[in-house]
C-alpha cells in the first residue's frame, strides 16, 4: 500500500519536473522579451500580456502541485508509520505549536507596526481642542492595547497549553457567577470613565455657537472643488440663496444683503493663529466632508443643511515645518465623503499665519462683487423695477 503511494508520487514528481521546465522556459521568454521589445511591433503587446498572465497562472498551478505532493508525502509518511506500528503524525500538537508560533510572531509584528508605522501617523494636533482629542486617544489606546495583548496571549496560550491529550479529560465548568459578575462590571466601569470624558469633551468641541470675535469663514463644496468666502471689513458674511447661482455668481450670494458687498474670495484657506475660527460649511450638489486632519476637524457638508465647526489653530505652518523638519509641509483640507469620480482629488491648502501676516494677506483678496457682476446687477435691478411696475398695477386693479 505504502509503496504504491510512493510510486504514485513519483509520477507526480515527473509531472512537477515538466511543469518546472515549462515554467523556466516561460520565464526565459519573459526576460528575453524586453530586449526584443524595441524592434517588436505593438501587436506583440497582446501576446506578451497573455504570456505574462499565463506565467502567473502556471506558477500558481505549480504551487498547487507542490502542495498536493507535500500532502501525498505526508500521507505516505503516516501510512508507513502505521504499518510499522509507530505513532502517526500528531496534527493536534502541530497545530498547537503553530498557534504558539503565531502568537509570538504576532506580538512581534504588532510591536513592529507600532514602532515603524506608528511613527508615520499624523503629527501633534495643531488646534486647541485637538490636544484634548489626542490625550483621549492616548488613554484609549493604552487601555485597549492592554486588553488586546492580554486576551490574545490568553487565547493562543490556552490553545497551546490545553491541546488534546487522550490521557486527560477536560474540566467540567459550566459557570461561575462571581467571575462572570467581575468581568461584566470591570469593562462597564472602564467604559463609563471613557464615556463620561468623551461626552463632556464632545459637548465642548461641538459647541459652535457664534461668539463676538469669531472669524467666520465660509467653505462650500461642489463636484470637485472647494470655494472659500471671507467676510470683509464688517466681519459678517452675506446671506446665500442657492437659486441665485449662475456663471458669474457661483455661490449664489444674495447681493440685496448689504453684508455681502465686501465678501472676499480666496484660493487658500489662510487662518490667523490663536484666533477662534468658525467654519460655515455648505455643499451645493452632493454630500462632501470638510476634513482637516492636522486640526482634528471634520464635519460633513450637506446640501440644504449649513453646518458649523469652531476651532482655534495653535501652530503656524512655518512653526510646524520647523518642528517636523520638513520645509515642504502644508496643512491640507480634503474631502472625506464619497462624492463622485474625482473624490480622491479635492484638496485645499491650509496656511496658518500670524495675525499681521493674515491682515496683509486679506487686504489683497478680491471681493465677490466683481465689476461684471455689478454691471449685471444694475441691469437686473432696472429690468426688475420695470417688471415690478405693471405687476403692482395689476394687483391694484
Amino acid at each position: 500500500m505504502g509503496f504504491k503511494k510512493i510510486l504514485n508520487s513519483k509520477k507526480i514528481f515527473s509531472l512537477l519536473a515538466v511543469f518546472m521546465l515549462t515554467g523556466t522556459n516561460l520565464l526565459m521568454a519573459q526576460t528575453a522579451a524586453p530586449a526584443d521589445a524595441t524592434t517588436a511591433a505593438a501587436a506583440d503587446d497582446k501576446t506578451a500580456m497573455w504570456m505574462g498572465a499565463g506565467y502567473y497562472v502556471l506558477l500558481f498551478l505549480l504551487l498547487c502541485v507542490v502542495i498536493a505532493i507535500v500532502g501525498k508525502i505526508l500521507r505516505v509518511y503516516d501510512l508507513t508509520q502505521q504499518i510499522q506500528g509507530k505513532k502517526e503524525l500528531n496534527w493536534n500538537n502541530l497545530m498547537a505549536v503553530i498557534c504558539l508560533v503565531f502568537l509570538i510572531f504576532g506580538i512581534y509584528g504588532a510591536y513592529w507596526e507600532f514602532t515603524v508605522q506608528g511613527t508615520q501617523t499624523l503629527p501633534e494636533a495643531a488646534s486647541a481642542h485637538g490636544v484634548k482629542i489626542d490625550e483621549m486617544f492616548t488613554v484609549t489606546t493604552v487601555l485597549t492595547m492592554i486588553v488586546f495583548f492580554i486576551t490574545q496571549i490568553l487565547l493562543f496560550g490556552f490553545l497551546f497549553k490545553y491541546r488534546h491529550s487522550s490521557k486527560r479529560k477536560a474540566y467540567y465548568l459550566p459557570h461561575n457567577n462571581t467571575i462572570e459578575k467581575v468581568w461584566t462590571i470591570a469593562p462597564a466601569i472602564v467604559l463609563t470613565i471613557l464615556v463620561v470624558f468623551g461626552f463632556f469633551t464632545w459637548q465642548e468641541i461641538t459647541n459652535s455657537a457664534e461668539v463676538k470675535g469669531d472669524l467666520n469663514i465660509e467653505i462650500t463644496g461642489h463636484q470637485f472643488a472647494w470655494e472659500l468666502r471671507y467676510p470683509g471689513k464688517d466681519q459678517k458674511l452675506g446671506t446665500i440663496d442657492y437659486k441665485l447661482v449662475s456663471g458669474t455668481n457661483k455661490l449664489g450670494i444674495d447681493f440685496k444683503d448689504r453684508n455681502s458687498f465686501d465678501d472676499l474670495q480666496a484660493d487658500t484657506l489662510v487662518l490667523p493663529v490663536n484666533r477662534s475660527i468658525r467654519l460655515n460649511i455648505r455643499a451645493q450638489d452632493v454630500i462632501h466632508s470638510v476634513y482637516l486632519p492636522h486640526f482634528r476637524v471634520q464635519l460633513n457638508a450637506v446640501p440644504g443643511l449649513p453646518t458649523f465647526f469652531k476651532f482655534v489653530p495653535t501652530i503656524t505652518t512655518a512653526e510646524m515645518r520647523n518642528r517636523l523638519d520638513d520645509p515642504k509641509f502644508e496643512y491640507l483640507l480634503y474631502c472625506n465623503k464619497i462624492c463622485g469620480g474625482i473624490h480622491y482629488n479635492m484638496k485645499k491648502v491650509v496656511r496658518v499665519v500670524t495675525e499681521a501676516e493674515y491682515q496683509d494677506w486679506i487686504a489683497k483678496q478680491k471681493p465677490y462683487l466683481t465689476d461684471d457682476l455689478k454691471k449685471q446687477m444694475n441691469i437686473a435691478t432696472t429690468t426688475q423695477s420695470k417688471n415690478v411696475q405693471p405687476n403692482r398695477l395689476a394687483l391694484n386693479n
Binding site: W50, N92, G118, H164, S165, Y172, L191, Y291, Q298, V302
Partner: protein, 627 residues
C-alpha cells in the same frame, strides 16, 4: 400543548413522504421545499457571491497598489471600465460599492443566516421542517433574483451603482451626479427590495419555527447557542429590514418621480435643481436604523456557531451559558439604539451624538462578556484542532482585535478625526468582515458532514485556515495606521497627495497579502467541491457532539428522523462530565441513564428528578460506607 400538536403533524407528514416517492429533479434540487436542500442552495449561492466579491476587491487592491501602472489585461477583461489598462475612477467606486453590498448583504446575511438557520433550526430544535416550507423556498428564490439583478448591473452601459454601499443621497439620487447613479443605481435599489423580501420571509420562518416547533423537552433554556443566535438574528432582521425598504422606496421616488424627501437646495453642474425641503440626513437615519442592526445580523450567527464549535472541540461546556444568552439578548436590544454612531460628523445635532455615544459604548459590555466566556471555555479544555475549531478561534481573535478599535470609533470625540478613514475600514473588516466570514467557514467545516454526508479534508482545511488567518491580519492591521494618518477611504489613488505617498509601499504589501489570502480560498473551493463528491463518508456523529442534529441519520430523508422525533432531556453542553465514561452525553439521553454523573444543579427546575437524585446519592454513600 403546541409541541404535541406539531409532533402529531410531523408523524403524518412523514408517512405522506413514504406514500409518494416521486421527487422530480426540479422539485428536489431547484424548487425544493426541504430545509436541508434550501440550506445548500443558500450556501452555494453565498459562496459564489463571495468569490465574485473577493475578485472585485482584488481588482481595486491592484489599483491601490499600482496607481501608475497600466495592465493591458484589465482592458481586455473589463473593456470600457478600464481604458488603457487602468481602472476608471468611477468604476473603482463601483467595485468598492458592489464589493461591500455583496459581502454585507448577499454573503454575510443571506449566505450565513440563510444557510445555517435553514439547516440547523429544524435539526437542532427537533422539527420535521420549517414552519412554512413554501415561504422558505420563496425566500431562496427572491434571494437568487436579487443576486442576478445586482450582478446584471455590471452589464449596463454606465456601470453598476457607485455611491458606496451606504448609497447616501444626493449622490445616489441624482442620476447626473455620477455614472453609477443612473441605471446601475436603479438596479441596486430593485435588487435590495427583492433581497429584503427574501430575508423577511426567511426571518419570519426562523422565528416561528423556533417558537412553535421545538420537540418534546426542548425548552428555551435547552436550546444550543446556535439556535439562540439565529433566533435573535431573525428577530433583528424582521424588525429592521422593513425600515431599509422604506428608505429605499423614498429614494426611488426622489430619483424617478421628482419628490424631495432627501433633496434640498441643490445646484448640480451649475444648474439649479427644483428640489426643496428634503434632508439627506433623513436617509442616513433610515439607512443606519437598519445598517447598524445589520452588522449584528452578520456577527451574531457567527458568534453562535463559534460558541457551539468551541464547546464541542474543547470537550467542555460553554462557560456561562446563561450569560451568553443574556449578552446576545442585550446586543439585540441595544443594537436598535446605537445607529447614530455612524453619523457623529454628518451635521446631526451634537447632543444626539452624545447620547448615541453612551448607548454605543454600553453595547461593548455584552460583547466583552462573550469574549471572556469564550476564553474561559478554552481554559482547562481538551482542545481538538479540527479546521472548524481553528476558524472559530480565528473568529474570536478577529472579534477581539476589531472590537477594541470600536471603542475608539464609538467615542464621538475620537470619531471626529477617524471617521471615514482607513481606521474604519480596518475596524469593520476585522470585527464584522473577517470575524463573520470565519464564523461562516467554521460552520461549513463543522456541518459539512451533516449537509453532504461526507467529510472535508482536514489538512487542506489547516492550510486554508492559516493562509487566510495570517493574510487577513496582514491586510487589515496596517490599515489602522493609515487611518491614524488621516488617509480617507474610497480614494481612487493616493498619488495626488504628497503626504500620502509614504503609504504606497504599505498599499503594495497589503495588496499582495490580499492576493495570497484570495488564492488560499482556492484550497477551500477545491476541498469543498472535491469532498462533496469524493470525500470520506462520515459516521452519524463525527465530532462526538451532543446536539440533536447528530441523532438524525446521515442519509437525508424528508422529515429528518425516521419514526418519532427524539425527546430532549438535558442542555446541549454536557461535555466531560465527571462520573461519565465518555466525554459527551447527548441531549437525548435521560438523566435516569446517567445516575453516576448527575449533579444537583441538573435538577434546578425538576423537584422529582432532584428527589430521585438525592435518594440515589444517599444509597451510593451508604453502599460505600458498607464497603
Amino acid at each position: 400543548m403546541s409541541t404535541l400538536a406539531v409532533h402529531d403533524h410531523g408523524v403524518v407528514h412523514h408517512e405522506e413522504g413514504h406514500e409518494h416517492h416521486k421527487d422530480t429533479f426540479i422539485s428536489k434540487y431547484i424548487f425544493s421545499m426541504d430545509h436541508k436542500m434550501i440550506a445548500k442552495q443558500f450556501l452555494i449561492t453565498g459562496i459564489t457571491m463571495a468569490f465574485i466579491a473577493m475578485t472585485l476587491s482584488i481588482l481595486f487592491r491592484i489599483q491601490l497598489a499600482y496607481p501608475d501602472k497600466a495592465f493591458p489585461l484589465l482592458e481586455t477583461l473589463l473593456g470600457r471600465f478600464a481604458p488603457g489598462g487602468r481602472l476608471d475612477p468611477n468604476f473603482y467606486l463601483s467595485l468598492v460599492t458592489i464589493h461591500g453590498t455583496i459581502m454585507v448583504f448577499f454573503v454575510l446575511t443571506a449566505g450565513l443566516s440563510g444557510t445555517f438557520s435553514n439547516l440547523l433550526i429544524p435539526l437542532q430544535v427537533g422539527a420535521r421542517d420549517m414552519a412554512s416550507p413554501f415561504m422558505n423556498m420563496l425566500s431562496y428564490w427572491f434571494f437568487f433574483l436579487a443576486c442576478v439583478i445586482m450582478l446584471s448591473s455590471f452589464f449596463v452601459q454606465k456601470g453598476p451603482a457607485s455611491g458606496g454601499w451606504t448609497v447616501y443621497p444626493p449622490l445616489s439620487a441624482l442620476p447626473k451626479a455620477m455614472p453609477g447613479s443612473e441605471m446601475g443605481m436603479t438596479l441596486w435599489l430593485i435588487s435590495m427590495v427583492c433581497f429584503v423580501a427574501s430575508s423577511l420571509m426567511g426571518g419570519i420562518n426562523y422565528v416561528s419555527t423556533v417558537l412553535n416547533m421545538r420537540t418534546k423537552g426542548m425548552d428555551l433554556w435547552k436550546m444550543p447557542l446556535t439556535i439562540w443566535a439565529f433566533f435573535l438574528t431573525a428577530v433583528l432582521g424582521v424588525l429592521s429590514f422593513p425600515v431599509l425598504v422604506a428608505g429605499v422606496v423614498l429614494l426611488i421616488f426622489d430619483r424617478s418621480m421628482g419628490t424631495s424627501f432627501y433633496l434640498s437646495d441643490i445646484v448640480l453642474n451649475g444648474k439649479v435643481m427644483p428640489f426643496e425641503g428634503g434632508s439627506p440626513i433623513l436617509f442616513e437615519h433610515l439607512f443606519w436604523f437598519l445598517g447598524h442592526p445589520e452588522v449584528y445580523i452578520v456577527i451574531m450567527p457567527a458568534m453562535g456557531i463559534s460558541s457551539e464549535i468551541m464547546s464541542v472541540n474543547s470537550r467542555k461546556p460553554i462557560f456561562g451559558y446563561h450569560a451568553m444568552v443574556y449578552s446576545l439578548i442585550g446586543i439585540t436590544v441595544l443594537s436598535f439604539i446605537v445607529w447614530g454612531h455612524h453619523m457623529f460628523v454628518t451635521g446631526m445635532n451634537p447632543f444626539l451624538g452624545g447620547v448615541f455615544m453612551i448607548t454605543t459604548l454600553i453595547i461593548a459590555v455584552p460583547s466583552a462578556v462573550k469574549t471572556f466566556n469564550w476564553l474561559a471555555t478554552l481554559w482547562r479544555g481538551n482542545i481538538r484542532f479540527k479546521p472548524a475549531m481553528l476558524f472559530a478561534i480565528g473568529m474570536v481573535s478577529f472579534f477581539i482585535s476589531g472590537g477594541l478599535t470600536g471603542i475608539f470609533l464609538g467615542n464621538a470625540t475620537l470619531d471626529i478625526n477617524l471617521h471615514d478613514t482607513y481606521f474604519v475600514v480596518a475596524h469593520f473588516h476585522l470585527v464584522m468582515g473577517s470575524a463573520a466570514i470565519f464564523g461562516m467557514l467554521a460552520g461549513v467545516y463543522h456541518w459539512f458532514p451533516k449537509m453532504f454526508g461526507r467529510l472535508m479534508d482536514e489538512k487542506l482545511g489547516y492550510l486554508h485556515f492559516w493562509l487566510t488567518f495570517i493574510g487577513a491580519y496582514l491586510v487589515f492591521f496596517p490599515m489602522h495606521f493609515m487611518g491614524l494618518d488621516g488617509v480617507p477611504r474610497r480614494y481612487y489613488a493616493f498619488t495626488e497627495f504628497e503626504s500620502m505617498q509614504k503609504w504606497l509601499s504599505v498599499n503594495t504589501f497589503v495588496t499582495w497579502a490580499a492576493i495570497m489570502s484570495a488564492l488560499a480560498q482556492v484550497a477551500f473551493l477545491f476541498n469543498f467541491v472535491h469532498s462533496i463528491f469524493w470525500g470520506k463518508k462520515t459516521t452519524q456523529n463525527p465530532w462526538q457532539a451532543n446536539t440533536l442534529e447528530w441523532t438524525a441519520p446521515v442519509e437525508h430523508i424528508h422529515g429528518n428522523w425516521p419514526g418519532e422525533i427524539p425527546t430532549v432531556y438535558r442542555w446541549p453542553y454536557d461535555y466531560s462530565k465527571p462520573g461519565q465514561e465518555e466525554d459527551f452525553i447527548m441531549q437525548t439521553v435521560p438523566y435516569s441513564e446517567t445516575m453516576s454523573s448527575n449533579i444537583e444543579s441538573d435538577f434546578e427546575d425538576n423537584p422529582v428528578g432532584l428527589a430521585e437524585h438525592t435518594k440515589w446519592a444517599s444509597t451510593q454513600r451508604s453502599n460505600e460506607e458498607v464497603k
